[in-house]
């Protein structure tokens, strides 16, 4: 009798899930990662060509790119919900309103926004999820210790033009929690100059691009020999630029590679 009860419960659970099936399109890699993390990938029907993590995303149809949305594709995928993450344009908004499709712009710009963003996604999708997974992220962020010892960190995003990530960026906000000193600015990414290098005098320089000769310009600094240069590979660049569940990996990398013990 107990077995039959359990079976009926599981059967009804699957049926109810099937009947309430949502069709989701994600136009942001960090949202796609979050949907997979919450096991909501079974509702995911569309993504951008940039959404490449985890590997299973390959099975999801591409509905847009970094430049524009394929509106015909969006219509054909018949989504109930479309997610953006700070990249919702006036044009896309106009289109989704016209087609009566629900859309949400979940901004997860800093480390503090991640759990809020995940909570919002759970609320919007309204499906069951593994609470322990979300708790793990919460605890991991709360467990960050100030290991940075006030070292100044400069995060290079591109060489030409010379652009850096500030304390308002995702990677900047994580490093700041670790006690590193990051170039302060309201904007997450800003243009930088040689004069700025001289006045900031970084102890650590992180390269989020593949231009290996980038460190030559720091030879103007007296402490050049003591500067620690960290080159991130493509996977790590993604981890540090997509604010989402892989914040756990980001925290591990910082603890392992950046902090002196």
């Amino acid at each position: 009798m107990e077995r039959l009860k359990n079976f009926s419960f599981i059967f009804l659970f699957f049926i109810s899930n099937f009947l309430n099936a949502q069709r989701i399109i994600s136009f942001a890699p960090n949202i796609t990662e979050t949907l997979f993390f919450l096991s909501y990938d079974r509702y995911l029907v569309g993504r951008t060509s940039f959404c490449n993590y985890p590997k299973n995303t390959e099975k999801i149809e591409i509905a847009g790119s970094f430049i524009d949305i394929d509106y015909e594709k969006v219509v054909s995928l018949k989504p109930d919900i479309v997610f953006f993450s700070g990249n919702l344009t006036d044009k896309s908004e106009k289109f989704l309103k016209e087609k009566n499709i629900k859309y949400y712009d979940i901004k997860m710009e800093k480390i503090d926004d991640i759990t809020k963003g995940i909570d919002s996604i759970i609320k919007i999708v309204g499906k069951d999820y593994d609470t322990s997974k979300v708790e793990k992220i919460r605890n991991k962020i709360l467990g960050i210790k100030k290991l940075g010892k006030d070292q100044k960190v400069l995060i290079e995003v591109s060489e030409k033009p010379f652009i850096i990530a500030t304390s308002s960026s995702y990677i900047g906000s994580i490093l700041k929690l670790f006690g590193f000193k990051i170039f302060e600015d309201e904007k997450p990414y800003i243009n930088f100059s040689y004069e700025n290098i001289l006045s900031f005098k970084p102890d650590i320089v992180i390269f989020m691009h593949s231009f290996k000769n980038g460190k030559d310009k720091y030879s103007i600094l007296k402490n050049f020999d003591k500067i620690k240069f960290v080159f991130l590979d493509d996977e790590k660049i993604d981890i540090f630029s997509r604010s989402g569940p892989r914040v756990i990996d980001a925290i591990d990398i910082i603890e392992r590679d950046f902090c002196e013990r």
Partner: protein, 313 residues
């Protein structure tokens, strides 16, 4: 274009139209096909209307200024129109009617600046109008970039606005406005065709035209005003699309079309077909849509070089 030639051309045009609307339609599920067809038909109408307007206006401008390298893009009208459109969308939050009024006003302003610049350049009239148009275009393109930065527009918007794109979102509540604009374009174009005899006389010599009873100045400015209106309307929907107005009329002239009426009506079909093919390439050649201006520039530049070589020795 008469008889057999016209029939062949029309057949090709309708075949292109069919491919444009039907392409990979079977890939979509049956229940969404109608929605996709609806989206494609709206875009198709925009594409062929733009092609017709930009090409015929190019042909008319070449007749008015006796310069084979002119069109609304080269004269700076498109640049002014785009600036006006973006300016109004910043201050009036995308009200279509106000945007088009602003686009028309700044198109007119840019045309006047171009004409005034060219009259002050001590050079051949053909060259001076090109230089002044180029300067006005640079001026308004720069203003568009500055305005977009200040209004925090995303960079993709700027990318597609400056190089043109037919990926326009049509709003059902604006349907009446769309139809009204379309009707005005048809009416003004018919008016220009009615004026083709005067254009023929004006293209020979202004003195001859005056002695034949044609009011040259009045006709010149009135027709120019219509072209500015038509261009500003198209720019408001698709951004800046260049060169199409130069290529087709010149090809028609090469094919022996001389009369203004034939040149303008031939430009309709030619322009619509060229833009249709270019838009098809821009839509399907990459994983994302490339601006129509990129495709047209790649097609046009060798041809424009050839026109310059033969006209500016």
């Amino acid at each position: 274009m008469k008889g057999k030639k016209l029939l062949i051309f029309l057949t090709i045009f309708f075949l292109l139209s069919f491919i444009y609307i039907d392409f990979k339609l079977s890939n979509f599920e049956k229940d969404v096909r109608n929605e996709i067809i609806k989206m494609r038909i709206f875009r198709y109408i925009l594409v062929i209307t733009s092609g017709m307007v930009l090409t015929s206006s190019g042909a008319v401008m070449q007749i008015l200024f006796k310069n084979p390298l002119l069109d609304s893009y080269v004269l700076g009208i498109s640049g002014g129109g785009l600036f006006g459109f973006i300016l109004s969308s910043v201050y009036f939050k995308g009200n279509l009617l106000i945007s088009i009024f602003f686009s028309f006003f700044f198109s007119l302003l840019s045309a006047l600046i171009s004409l005034s610049f060219s009259s002050n350049i001590k050079s051949d009239r053909k060259v001076s109008i090109l230089i002044s148009g180029l300067l006005v275009n640079i001026l308004f393109s720069s203003l568009v970039i500055i305005l977009s930065i200040f209004s925090k527009r995303d960079i993709t918007f700027l990318f597609y606005a400056l190089m043109g794109s037919f990926n326009h979102i049509f709003i059902s509540k604006n349907l009446f406005l769309y139809i009204s604009f379309f009707v005005t374009i048809i009416l003004t174009t018919v008016f220009i065709i009615f004026k083709s005899k005067e254009l023929d006389i004006m293209s020979i010599d202004e003195d001859i035209a005056s002695t034949s009873g044609v009011n040259v100045k009045k006709n010149f400015f009135f027709i120019l005003l219509i072209i500015i209106y038509q261009t500003s309307l198209i720019v408001s929907f698709v951004g800046m699309v260049g060169f199409v107005g130069i290529i087709i009329p010149n090809i028609l002239r090469m094919a022996g079309v001389v009369k203004s009426k034939d040149l303008i009506s031939g430009s309709f079909l030619g322009g619509a077909s060229l833009i249709l093919v270019a838009d098809f390439i821009s839509k399907y050649s990459f994983s994302f849509e490339i601006p129509i201006g990129v495709v047209l520039s790649l097609f046009s530049l060798p041809f424009i070089f050839w026109i310059v070589k033969n006209n500016f020795e």
